[in-house]
């Protein structure tokens, strides 16, 4: 792929000018003709402005490292000595237990057992809070992925990132407050459901990402845009800022007329905010996504430039840069974890591709003093069975699995909850997806029972009528 030869560099002068002109949402909202505000902003006072949380909390933002396809917990973070002893034994009928082919070692002062598949992450053992009692609803990918992201697998509901953004707003109006890098699966996973569209995730594509399932759809880009920039069309060859501003003003007036006709239909008041965001993104995104400003040591830390880790390394570094710039919720996806077969090779490959980048991210956040107020979350939509599928694979298991958190006020070097002795079912500290959502919101200072949105006469929550905060995991 061409790196930069054909690319017309956006001129710095213009970008500087845009920066000096724009003061985020407020500027746009008030700078229109007649000082008109957009429909959405009149409906909700400045929907993206930073808001006070319900309670004081350490975490200001979330980076969710989403392992699409369900990684095996018993081969990575859930050490099961009993499983090793009972390798090959019959299990509940004709299934056969399968010991992990990988060794677990104790790491850090806390002595957390982590498998040799994650040597890099293991160095941060004292920062990890392992949630061994995770439990999902359905061992089928599509439904479980939807539930993980929205709480519901039946109806279209807002995603957790949208709820977080709705609850807290964002401090940088020139970037989306919720970004999802290389999403796989259905778009509803980062959709805003019945929340205003301004809260939905903005997908960002980075090539060389986590492979199928995590890579999402790749499109053939316009021939003028052959770069590794994850966002295309950040500059027009035709219209400058002043013209675009006029266009936005016109659009705003047209949309206002339309909203008036629409009787408050939630489906109507949507596109304007996306244009305002897009307009603002033009000023800042080119800088944020330009990894070229990072020094070599940092790039190496993330495994960028190395075969195997380059793709996910770039995604993780991008996540840090977005976090630094004030993005509230960042999701980064890596696919390929559905190891029904060839697990010894496949799982090792997948772990190899993400271990160094994740370790790099944790180290980088730490040295910038950002780990304290950034909640890093790792995990898939469910786990895998302790018994074998074939001779070299594991089947889906929603009954018990491990996710982990780091930073953002959670206890480090800590194991919370457990599965039974083989790792099949969560038995202690059981955390279902609603609990997990409630706990995640709690870490951001949001009370999941108070974070509601009235849609068609009913107050909805991310956790519906469920969910308990597991406050023991917080320091």
């Amino acid at each position: 792929m061409d790196l930069c030869n054909n690319r017309i560099e956006p001129s710095n002068g213009r970008r500087e000018m845009l920066k000096s002109l724009s003061y985020g949402f407020g500027w746009l909202a008030f700078s229109g003709l007649e000082g008109a505000r957009s429909f959405a902003s009149s409906m909700l006072d400045d929907p993206l402005a930073p808001k006070r949380p319900h309670h004081t909390a350490k975490a200001k933002r979330v980076i969710f490292l989403y392992m699409s396809g369900a990684p095996s917990h018993v081969d990575t973070f859930d050490y099961k000595p009993e499983l090793a002893k009972r390798d090959g034994q019959a299990y509940r009928g004709n299934a056969k237990l399968l010991a992990s082919p990988w060794k677990f070692n104790r790491h850090g002062e806390s002595g957390l057992p982590i498998s040799e598949l994650f040597p890099g992450v293991a160095k941060h053992a004292d920062d990890l809070c392992l949630l061994h009692g995770m439990k999902a609803g359905i061992p089928a990918h599509a439904q479980a992925q939807m539930q993980l992201h929205t709480g519901s697998f039946q109806f279209v509901r807002p995603s957790m990132g949208s709820w977080a953004l709705y609850g807290l707003g964002t401090s940088n109006q020139n970037l989306p407050g919720y970004i999802t890098v290389n999403p796989g699966g259905a778009a509803n996973q980062y959709g805003s459901g019945f929340l205003p569209a301004t809260y939905q995730g903005t997908p960002v594509r980075l090539s060389g990402g986590g492979g199928r399932g995590g890579g999402g759809q790749q499109s053939r880009r316009g021939r003028n845009n052959q770069s590794q920039d994850p966002i295309d069309h950040l500059e027009s060859e035709r219209n400058g800022t002043a013209v675009q501003k006029e266009q936005l003003a016109l659009l705003r007036r047209l949309e206002r007329e339309r909203s008036r006709r629409g009787n408050g239909d939630p489906a109507v008041e949507t596109v304007l905010e996306q244009y305002e965001l897009a307009f603002r993104m033009q000023t800042e995104v080119p800088d944020v996504v330009n990894l070229g400003t990072e020094d070599r040591k940092t790039l190496e830390m993330y495994g960028i430039g190395e075969e195997g880790t380059d793709g996910f390394g770039r995604q993780c570094l991008l996540a840090r840069r977005f976090a630094e710039e004030g993005v509230r919720f960042i999701e980064v996806s890596a696919g390929g974890w559905d190891t029904h077969r060839n697990m010894r090779t496949e799982l090792a490959n997948r772990c190899g591709a993400v271990d160094k980048p994740i370790a790099g991210l944790l180290a980088d956040l730490k040295r910038r003093n950002m780990l304290d107020d950034t909640l890093v979350v790792w995990g898939g939509e469910f786990g895998r069975t302790p018994y074998a599928q074939g001779s070299d694979g594991r089947d889906h298991n929603a009954g018990g699995f491990t996710m982990w958190m780091a930073g953002g006020g959670v206890k480090g070097g800590y194991e919370y909850g457990s599965t039974d002795e083989t790792g099949h079912k969560a038995v202690e500290g059981v955390m279902d997806i609603h609990d997990w959502h409630a706990t995640l919101l709690h870490s951001l200072g949001l009370n999941h029972e108070r974070l509601t949105f009235n849609h068609a006469g009913r107050d909805y929550r991310l956790t519906d009528v469920h969910g308990h905060v597991h406050s023991d995991i917080f320091a």
Partner: protein, 907 residues
């Protein structure tokens, strides 16, 4: 290894889990409890304790429950009274008989044998003003009677499945369970439902309206009112053709007050070629149509476009849907009256050949089984909304489909030779043949090969020839030295010689690929008879395949006789003959009015395309993990109608778009939304975003750029071999111009290289069956519409067109609105546009000054060069005209109209 792990344990705090599947499953009598991780311990115990007391009921009584009561409970009670995600009101769950006997906060819900004493019955009778169930919309008298009868009978209800023997992995569906599984709503025969009683007999226009209104009546809802005529016209024109109505069509409809006006419009639209282009594309989503293999090596399928054209033509000719399916499954086995028909039948089987494949996988058997799996997955999801491929490695986890059924189907495709073409070579260990099209067929030869690429191909061939010759020289030398196998003699070769032999290994494949292209196109680039081929399937060596334990080739069991999916089998199922693959029988089994799924699935897909979502929202999954129909009677009415109409898709579509329901306004209403927030009932037409193709096509139309004549072939049909991204871009760079302004359905769909204009608006990943598309609205789309040169090009064209036609500003803005939105602007809108045009010039000037000020002298020169180049790329008329500030202003106005929500939304 660690022996002991320090643990810090904490009391469990798990909240209640959602087990919707469980609800569905217990209500259908198929407990899914034993599937790993499916069930909480609570529910497991409830199930077990219930087992002890469960009386046994007669088959007849259970049938009564299945056919009459279960749909009622599912439709009217489950939402608020089950483990289902929404809620468990008053502690009452209706998932099992035991739960009903225990009841909720107010005590037992039923007293078997005593309807009058049963709370459930009192509640549905609305006897007690404090206890009226369901709260929104009383049951009909018949429905209440059914519940009373049921309680009188002792409330027969099937027990959840017997205690779990094997909660591990390998549950096997028993014959009894499969038998019971036939009671699932989607597997029971389609019986045309009785037209229901309705509140307003004057409302329906078509019979289907009665079912819509009856549902609204039951919810206590009323329709919002009819859409404005121009909204209806825009809606139906986009829905049937994917294109906007022209200003002339709008004017004509506006002036025609006759009662037949709508029929005339609809019949006219159904008769256009654009109809097939629109509805054919819907099927191509389901058929995961693409022009390359995807996966690691992405091998080109340069003949796939013939299947695309066949699908489009089939819709235009209204090929009956049963015949449409049969042709795709077994067209090669159908008799044909002439070469033309035979050719079409053969091309239809391309459906089986154009799925994703790992061409480089080692081992032909593995490749074959993966190919078969992809075929089974595509067919069963696409035609039956059933995920049979889940049963490759184990029995299906949710639906009563044993693994055995999978291998029965697999045998049919193992006895089929799939002809997908491609050559062995680098990145491809599994090549295949193609099918020659009968010479007398009246079909195009194919696309023109770009002359600029021809010399590259010749050079590639010569290079490969040279490499092969050099290698042959070395081998000849070795032979003369008495060495037969060069590998044993590596030490005797110089590194250079080894490299030559190494290169030659790939050279043969490269030469074959180059030769194929040079044979398919003559020296002027025109297609030759070698291009008169298609992808597809023919009969192969007839065999049954072994049951593969855990789906593994290393674990073959007994051969499984070819056959179908048992839970769907019935008296109409025919056996597979010994000497044939069974594809024809499979086709007959699927494309059969007695198959309970086929007509339901297609009617539901049609409905989903016209109403934004299906009656069953999970269009590709009618199984137990899918959704239940929001209006079962409506679905069955449509399914039965489809068969009555001799499977004519056009006729069914015609009935739907002429219905009162389809003509509903799209006005949102707070009061109705409060009752039905998820809009499961049809009280309005939802506002729908256009699909990617329509957004692009509508901009082409607005600019007067659209070439309505279909192109011949595809921009990608000159490709061969592995398609790397740079190859694709370069090649399409040579052919794109020729194809650019045809309808979007004709853009090349190479896997991993979907054209940006489509990908940005949620074009489905062409690797899987995709009956529903995402409809996102994200900032990256806004950036595309703001800054892409392609958008500016179309806006320029529209501006040129409008300014050439109208003189005064008012008429210009009016025409622009008619073109973009199918209506005239309001006074406020006109003023907004006028203000914009007035302000434009100073904004433009200020931008130019800013831009020039920020450039270095070199950049300024580059800028000038770029502007000249882009001017050259446009046609001459616009190039000169574009210097005109008025035109620039109007183009920016048109672009803003493209950007508006209204442009991409159907009211």
């Amino acid at each position: 290894m660690l022996n002991q792990v320090p643990r810090m344990l904490h009391a469990p705090q798990g909240g209640p889990m959602i087990f919707s599947l469980l609800v569905i499953s217990t209500l259908t009598g198929i407990s899914l409890a034993q599937d790993a991780g499916m069930m909480s311990d609570d529910s497991m115990m409830a199930g077990e304790s219930m087992m002890a007391e469960e009386p046994s009921f007669s088959r007849k009584d259970l049938d009564f429950f299945e056919s009459k009561i279960r749909p009622l409970l599912l439709g009217r009670c489950v939402n608020c009274h089950s483990n289902d995600g929404s809620r468990i009101n008053a502690g009452l769950r209706v998932d099992t008989r035991m739960q009903l006997l225990i009841g909720g906060d107010s005590g037992p819900a039923i007293i078997p044998g005593d309807p009058d004493a049963s709370l459930l019955i009192q509640a549905v009778r609305y006897d007690d003003p404090g206890l009226e169930m369901p709260p929104r919309g009383r049951l009909t008298r018949d429905e209440i009677k059914l519940l009373e009868d049921w309680v009188s009978m002792g409330a027969p209800m099937p027990a959840p499945r017997e205690k779990v023997e094997n909660p591990g992995t390998e549950h096997r569906w028993t014959t009894q369970e499969i038998e019971q599984g036939r009671n699932h709503w989607a597997y029971v025969p389609v019986v045309p439902p009785k037209p229901p009683a309705i509140s307003d007999p004057s409302w329906p226009r078509e019979n289907l309206d009665r079912y819509v209104l009856a549902d609204l009546d039951a919810q206590g809802l009323t329709p919002v009112g009819d859409a404005e005529p121009n909204h209806w016209l825009r809606r139906v024109t986009f829905d049937l053709t994917g294109l906007p109505p022209t200003p002339a069509e709008l004017a004509k409809f506006d002036s025609d007050d006759s009662p037949r006006a709508r029929q005339i419009v609809v019949d006219g639209l159904l008769a256009t070629n654009a109809f097939g282009e629109r509805w054919g594309r819907h099927w191509l989503d389901v058929a995961r149509y693409a022009e390359s293999s995807g996966k690691e090596n992405n091998v080109a399928y340069p003949h796939a476009w013939r299947y695309r054209d066949w699908v489009i033509n089939s819709f235009n000719e209204d090929l009956p849907y049963d015949r449409f399916l049969t042709s795709q499954l077994a067209g090669d086995l159908l008799s044909a009256k002439d070469d033309d028909e035979e050719a079409r039948n053969l091309i239809a089987t391309g459906y089986l050949a154009l799925g994703t494949k790992s061409h480089n996988v080692q081992g032909n058997a593995q490749f074959q089984f993966d190919l078969i799996d992809e075929q089974i997955d595509t067919i069963t999801q696409g035609m039956l909304a059933t995920t049979v491929a889940c049963a490759r490695c184990h029995d299906h986890k949710f639906d009563p489909i044993p693994q055995r059924d999978y291998y029965a189907l697999a045998g049919i495709f193992a006895s089929t030779e799939t002809r997908f073409g491609t050559f062995e070579g680098p990145g491809n260990r599994n090549a295949g043949q193609l099918i020659e099209i009968p010479a007398g067929a009246n079909l195009p030869d194919g696309s023109i090969f770009p002359s600029a690429a021809r010399s590259l191909i010749i050079a590639a061939r010569d290079r490969a020839e040279n490499q092969l010759a050099a290698a042959e020289e070395i081998r000849a030398e070795m032979r003369s030295a008495g060495i037969r196998n060069p590998r044993t003699a590596r030490d005797l070769l110089t590194p250079a010689q080894q490299q030559i032999l190494q290169r030659a290994r790939n050279a043969e494949g490269s030469r074959n690929i180059a030769d194929s292209i040079l044979n398919r196109f003559d020296s002027t680039g025109r297609p030759t008879i070698d291009n008169f081929v298609c992808m597809g399937a023919v009969e192969g060596k007839i065999r049954n395949v072994p049951f593969l334990e855990r789906g593994e080739l290393e674990n073959p069991g007994n051969a499984i006789p070819r056959g179908f999916v048992q839970v769907l089998n019935s008296d109409w199922t025919t056996d597979v003959p010994q000497s044939e693959s069974g594809r024809l029988e499979l086709a007959d089994w699927i494309a059969n009015e007695k198959n309970p799924l086929t007509s339901r699935v297609w009617a539901n897909r049609i409905w989903a395309h016209l109403f934004g979502k299906g009656i069953v929202t999970s269009c590709d999954n009618f199984g137990l993990s899918g959704q239940s129909p929001s209006n079962p009677a409506l679905l069955d009415h449509l399914a039965a109608r489809l068969v009555e109409l001799d499977w004519s898709s056009k006729s069914l579509i015609r009935e739907i778009v002429l219905s009162r329901s389809y003509a509903l306004a799209s006005d949102w209403d707070r009061r109705r939304a409060a009752v039905d927030p998820d809009e499961t009932s049809i009280w309005r037409m939802p506002k729908r975003r256009l699909e990617a193709e329509s957004i692009r096509d509508a901009m082409l139309v607005a600019g007067g750029l659209l070439e309505i004549e279909p192109p011949t072939g595809s921009a990608a049909s000159g490709l061969e071999g592995a398609v790397r991204e740079n190859v694709l871009d370069r090649f399409l760079g040579l052919t794109a111009a020729e194809y650019a302004d045809h309808r979007s359905v004709y853009l090349p769909v190479v896997r991993g290289g979907v054209p940006e204009a489509l990908a940005v608006f949620d074009f489905p990943e062409p690797n899987f069956v995709r009956g529903t598309r995402d409809k996102t609205n994200v900032a990256t789309q806004a950036l595309y519409l703001m800054n892409s040169a392609e958008i500016t090009r179309m806006a320029d064209a529209m501006a040129n067109r409008v300014l050439a036609r109208e003189e005064d500003p008012k008429s210009q803005v009016e025409l622009a609105f008619r073109i973009a939105f199918g209506r005239t602007p309001s006074a406020g809108e006109f003023i907004a546009c006028r203000d914009f045009l007035r302000e434009f010039r100073s904004a433009w000037t200020s931008d130019q000054q800013e831009r020039m000020a920020s450039l270095t002298p070199t950049q300024r020169r580059q800028q000038a060069r770029r502007e000249n180049a882009s001017r050259r790329n446009r046609n001459d008329a616009s190039a000169t005209a574009l210097s005109d500030a008025d035109l620039m202003a109007f183009s920016a106005l048109c672009q803003t109209l493209f950007q508006s929500a209204e442009f991409r939304t159907l009211d």
